[in-house]
């Protein structure tokens, strides 16, 4: 069971919220596959143009000084070039995959290269069933769905979710920034996460998730 089944059995999935940029997820996937398949430098340049400035902004927002933020953006894009063969469009959208690389770059920088939180490349975490070829772009749909799910959160929930991505001591910092008690931060985050998961994961996941 995976997101593929979810998308198939839910043709009534909500349309993207009006007025939002729907992203160029499909185009980004194409660029990544061009790098993976043909070491396509033009594709890399296009991807760099789209993501490097956003990566720099993200690193800065997480508290990295500007010069180091640009270095990390560079390193992230070079890692994208090196690891493009490992990108599986059936498992993650382009932005999601690049995000995980950036996150690991930041953790490695902070922890002197020694501990990665979650190694998405790890073969033991690869789902056992291969992604059918005609579903290869399903993660683009997944990205679209997460955007719809994010816009469906209350503004308060969306805020704690965003801050969770930017603050290393999220609960304490969020508590300070928003001026709300820690218990409220946690309960908002949990509610938000449940709503995101309900939107994105298969309905029977709870039943199947506990068995190997």
């Amino acid at each position: 069971m995976d997101i593929v089944a979810h998308v198939r059995v839910r043709p009534d999935s909500p349309p993207p919220a009006p007025g939002r940029v729907t992203g160029s997820g499909g185009e980004d996937v194409r660029l990544l596959l061009a790098i993976a398949g043909g070491r396509d430098r033009a594709a890399f340049a296009a991807l760099f143009g789209r993501f490097a400035p956003r990566l720099k902004a993200w690193f800065q927002r997480t508290g990295t000084p500007p010069a180091q933020a640009e270095d990390l953006a560079q390193e992230t894009m070079l890692a994208v070039w090196r690891k493009a063969e490992l990108f599986d469009p059936g498992r993650a959208g382009a932005a999601t995959w690049i995000f995980t690389i950036a996150r690991n770059q930041r953790i490695d920088a902070a922890r002197r290269d020694a501990l990665r939180v979650f190694d998405g490349d790890d073969p033991s975490l690869t789902p056992p069933e291969p992604t059918p070829p005609d579903d290869a772009f399903v993660a683009v749909e997944q990205d679209r769905r997460v955007r719809a799910a994010l816009t469906a959160l209350t503004p308060e929930q969306a805020e704690v979710v965003r801050l969770s991505f930017f603050e290393d001591r999220p609960h304490g910092e969020i508590e300070r920034v928003l001026g709300i008690p820690l218990g409220t931060v946690k309960s908002r985050l949990r509610l938000a996460m449940r709503r995101l998961r309900a939107q994105l994961e298969t309905p029977n996941k709870a039943a199947t998730g506990d068995s190997h």
Binding site: V21, G23, F44, A52, P53, L55, K56, A57, W58, R61, P66, A69, E70, A73, Q74, R82, K83, A92, G93, A94, T96, I98, F99, R103, R106, I107, R111, R112, A114, L115, V117, F118, D119, G120, D121, D122, P123, S124, L125, Q142, D143, V146, S164, F165, E167, D168, R169, P170, K186, L189, R190, M193, R197, L200, E201, K205, A206, G209, D210, H212
Partner: protein, 224 residues
């Protein structure tokens, strides 16, 4: 791999990391020790792997929505110039096997060669994950069957993942792959199951608050 509680007398415990911990794990903003506990749990739990993936997808959307920052002049050229020297994708380090469990490679690298006596029926391996806060402790703890840890409270969070055996405290019964998370308000006295030694990866923040003279001595001897 969440086996049900061994008897119907136990209420269903919280065997998974809390949803906010999964989200922060995906975001890369969990403390180092807590992240290691969650990463270990993910080895056992497809459902939480899906949860982390949802968090990562959220991260992808947030990244895409960032207002672009200005790059320094020539940034693209510098990146392009490095493409030819960029090494081919390195393979991920193989997971480490411990007690029949595939652990994150990062955890395996931290394992010290031997267990150290910690108290009656209790031994530990102290881990020092890079990036851990000064007040953060990360141990592999081995408790002989039926043994109890001294009753103690916390001044910060605690997170544990059972690697083998099981334990029970007032919050529930935990077995292989289960995660127990507590916060500073919690006070507990974990007891290992009777059938086999209980081995846990355990991380916590801040000093423990043992009750009684012997437990305090136990704490001081062990730097808890």
């Amino acid at each position: 791999m969440n086996t049900p509680p061994p008897s119907p007398g136990h209420p269903p415990p919280g065997h998974h990391p809390a949803e906010d911990a999964l989200l922060r794990h995906a975001a890369g903003t969990l403390p180092a020790g807590h992240a290691l506990v969650v990463a270990t749990h993910l080895r056992f739990c497809p459902s939480c792997r899906d949860g982390v993936r949802t968090g990562e997808t959220t991260g992808g959307a947030i990244l895409e929505d960032m207002a672009p920052a200005d790059l320094s002049p020539g940034a693209l050229d510098r990146a392009m110039a490095r493409l030819d020297t960029a090494a081919v994708a390195a393979h991920a380090a193989p997971p480490v096997r411990f007690q029949g469990v595939a652990l994150p490679a990062a955890l395996g690298a931290l394992l010290a060669p031997r267990w150290r006596w910690t108290g009656p029926g209790v031994r530990r391996i102290v881990l020092n994950p890079p990036g851990a806060a000064r007040a953060e402790r990360v141990w592999l703890l081995r408790v002989e069957p039926g043994r109890a840890l001294p009753s103690h409270g916390h001044t910060g969070w605690e997170a544990a993942c059972v690697l083998s055996g099981g334990f029970t405290d007032r919050t529930g019964h935990y077995e292989r792959g289960d995660v127990a998370e507590t916060d500073e308000s919690a006070r507990h006295r974990p007891i290992a199951s009777r059938d086999e030694p209980c081995i846990c990866l355990i991380a916590w923040m801040g000093p423990l608050t043992p009750r009684g003279v012997l437990p305090r001595l136990f704490q001081q001897l062990n730097g808890m």
